[in-house]
């Protein structure tokens, strides 16, 4: 006999405009049976009443529409960023503001390594937020006998120790724009771009990239990271979906304690004989916690890496225009194939010229093969203006904006990449909504931390890390932001009929909060505490870690 459990809560924010709040939700077979007062939900008959959440606030499980399983792998290395960041086990790694602190953390980790050859790798380092420039001799204090290197948060530059420089054959005379020097002309140990990566991998091996595909453990850790942030549906928005990865996904999503619904997006331009047929065959593996069917394409690079494709007047500091990662005619061709087959395509565009190319591609395939409700979604789309949003709305496209960028790189966009005007309308959620484009907002984890409530805070307040409000007219209300991280994101994944609100028939997926996001000050939205989640009626409490 099926049991019915009624969860009592201090407040339930349903995101259903027909019944915005409630105190009880009845769950049967992993789905929501009833929402309302205790009397209302008990109308379905006998039920067990669970009071675990009596002093908590329930929301629909949050939805991260753009993040990567790589978030589950970065924690194998040492976090060296300047912001506090929580790992999948719930431990908060304090942000480090000085080079000496970073060296200290790395040295401590180095002491725990057994294998004398094993490289020590840091990640998340942001040179904008530390006291001085990091140089090779700093990392030499960590070790002179093993490779030590640190990925910058932008992923464009890698700091290495002298051991790596020597192995890579870099000498005082090596002259290249990819091997950086300080004002005095001395080599700093910063290796840039693909050339830097080549020198590093050639001298120390390609490390974690040597293993093709994603391991079950990395997928589990990724799911834990999502759970910590109150997320119950998460994408892995660009994956070649090699067989080992598919195997890992199928295996872990079948485990009882796997806490999220996972939606991988296949890299549309990945080489295989019949990409459409391959994706179609993957959908046969779909379950309630694993959903294949999304496609990802990448048009350009990143704005802070100066590889995004910008329209006139280009980069504020005069840098040459960025790179096409996939040329527009290829976008059109691949999009066309998946469009015709009925799949939904998520298209990465950062610069506004890349956005223009993506819009033209969608327009072209729509004219050629009109398809109602395709919901192809522009991802990041950070520099779109109102005219572009209007075209997207007309074409039936959605947008998932990168609101976290405002906080992490907003100051750099203001002074370096875009200049004041365009920086103030970057990630223009309010404009997109005014133009009628369905909107989601995202973290792109691990590029920035996975946390929809933080992302919502960014969209509401638009504060940069220095405290500047970047384009007040693009700020949205708390209600709008909460919609964007639930139903809004669900809509961009064609999942809003199953998740995104607490309504009868949907999955019993909840974010369990200690605070009410609609009652805290909008400036405090990011500080709302997440107790855990419920997925399909099963409770997942976050680990309590003492600070």
């Amino acid at each position: 006999m099926t049991t019915t459990v009624v969860y009592e809560a201090r407040k339930i924010l349903t995101m259903n405009p027909g019944k915005p709040t409630a105190t009880h939700v009845a769950v049967r077979d992993g789905r929501i049976l009833a929402v309302g007062s205790l009397d209302e939900v008990q109308a379905w008959g006998a039920a067990e009443i669970d009071r675990t959440f009596s002093d908590k606030v329930l929301m629909p499980g949050l939805i991260e529409g753009h993040a990567h399983v790589y978030e589950g792998m970065v924690w194998n290395n040492i976090y060296t960023g300047s912001y506090d960041r929580r790992d999948p086990d719930g431990k908060v790694w304090t942000g480090l503001g000085t080079i000496d602190q970073i060296v200290g953390r790395l040295a401590e980790a180095c002491g725990k390594l057994d294998d004398p050859e094993q490289p020590l790798i840091g990640w998340g380092f942001d040179p904008l937020f530390v006291d001085r420039r990091m140089v090779a001799s700093d990392l030499d204090k960590v070790s002179t006998t093993r490779p030590v290197f640190i990925y910058h948060a932008s992923l464009h530059i890698i700091n290495v120790n002298s051991f790596v420089l020597e192995r890579a054959g870099v000498t005082l005379d090596t002259d290249s724009e990819f091997i950086l020097r300080d004002e005095a002309g001395k080599i700093t140990g910063e290796l840039a771009g693909h050339v830097g990566r080549y020198l590093l991998y050639k001298s120390v091996g390609s490390g974690e990239f040597a293993v093709p595909g994603n391991t079950p453990e990395s997928v589990r850790r990724y799911a834990k990271s999502a759970q910590m942030a109150g997320v119950t549906t998460v994408t892995d928005l660009n994956n070649d979906l090699l067989q080992p990865t598919v195997d890992s996904y199928v295996k872990v999503t079948a485990e009882d304690d796997f806490p999220v619904r996972l939606m991988p997006a296949m890299r549309g331009t990945a080489q295989r004989e019949d990409p459409v047929g391959y994706l179609r065959s993957l959908t046969e593996l779909n379950s309630d916690r694993l959903r294949f069917g999304l496609v990802k394409m990448t048009v350009d690079g990143s704005i802070q890496g100066f590889t995004a494709r910008l329209r006139w007047p280009g980069y504020f500091n005069g840098r040459p225009n960025g790179l096409w990662y996939t040329p527009p005619e290829e976008i059109k061709r691949v999009l066309g194939a998946f469009h015709e087959a009925g799949f939904q395509v998520h298209i990465h565009t950062n610069g506004d010229e890349a956005t223009e190319a993506a819009i033209e591609a969608i327009e072209a395939v729509q004219i050629e093969k009109p398809r109602p409700d395709h919901r192809h979604t522009l991802q990041h789309c950070q520099m779109a203006d109102a005219a572009q949003f209007r075209r997207m709305a007309k074409l039936g496209a959605c947008v998932n904006l990168f609101s976290n960028h405002i906080y992490y790189w907003g100051d750099a966009h203001y002074s370096l990449t875009m200049g004041p005007d365009r920086a103030e309308r970057m990630d223009a959620v309010a404009s997109a909504m005014r133009c009628g484009v369905p909107v989601a907002i995202h973290s792109d984890a691990p590029i920035t931390p996975l946390g929809p409530l933080f992302t919502a805070w960014c969209a509401v307040n638009r504060r940069t890390s220095s405290g500047r409000v970047l384009g007040a007219s693009e700020c949205i209300s708390v209600d709008e932001a909460l919609h964007a991280i639930t139903l809004g994101a669900a809509y961009t994944l064609k999942m809003e009929g199953e998740v995104g609100s607490i309504e009868v028939g949907k999955y019993a997926d909840f974010a369990v909060l200690e605070d009410d996001p609609t009652e805290v000050a909008p400036e405090a939205l990011k500080d709302v505490r997440v107790w855990g989640t419920v997925l399909g009626g099963r409770i997942f409490a976050n680990p309590r870690v003492l600070p």
Binding site: G169, L199, Q271
Partner: protein, 314 residues
Amino acid sequence: MTRIPLTIIGGFLGSGKTTLLNRMLRGSAGRRIAVLVNDFGDINIDAELITGHEGSTISLSNGCICCSIGDSLVEALVEVVRMTPPPEHIVIEASGVAEPQNIAEIARLDPGLRLSGILVMADAERVKELAGDKFVGDTVRHQLCAADMILLSKVDRVLEERKADLHAWLRNAIGVKRIVETVHGAVPMDVLFDTDFEEPGAGATVAHHDHHDHHAHDDQFETWAFVSDQEFDGGKLGELLGSLPAGVLRAKGFLRTQQKPGQTGILHLVGGHWEIAWHAAPAGTPAIRLVLIAVKGTLDREALQKRFACALAD
């Protein structure tokens, strides 16, 4: 350590890179070439040539291998250079939107590699239009500018006057001097590769080469050789190599200079840049033998003879 020569084949989508790579793989003339391609699917290697297929690598019966680049050129290239034994030549198919000079920088910095040229394919039918495209125009122009030589493909599909117009446009608007016409990827191996003179004083190779030259003429190319038993003056030679006629596609051979007694230098010159690898070796006969391959009609033999002779040490 022998540096592995690396050739980059650039050019926009549909410019004919794959056709050329197919030819290279089939006509490798005994060289164990590793070709890194963007997509196996396009390469279409004859099944009877394939001796193995493991992950991202296909092995061919002629000793060549073909590797798929996948998501990361850098990782694929690292894998190839770490192979044992290493390939004798590496050819990279740059993606249709890559800036080939960025890949060339890898060859310049890795002491294990030597840049053997950036060859950029341009589709005679489309290149001019693409160079004016609102989205990719700048990318296409950057690619053309980066070329040591441009391989103008599909010339059989355009009229003579259109071809002349293309040549003029490439020379004047883009600023490229070395243009080679090709149909179905047919380009003489001497133009594509420069590995004939790897070993100092290898007389047999020279003879072989002479034979080759004749064949390579095609009516598009001409060659010219400089032979001497004297030595160059290092400084004068440098000046000379930096100012060769614009039509010179490649120069290769061995030489000696007064400044490096007891050593023989192997010259590799492609387009605008050149390098000399030095080996300790007694002077052979002749002491200097250099061959230039150029676009037909661009070599003034008499003037060249005079200039090379002037670069000899007093």
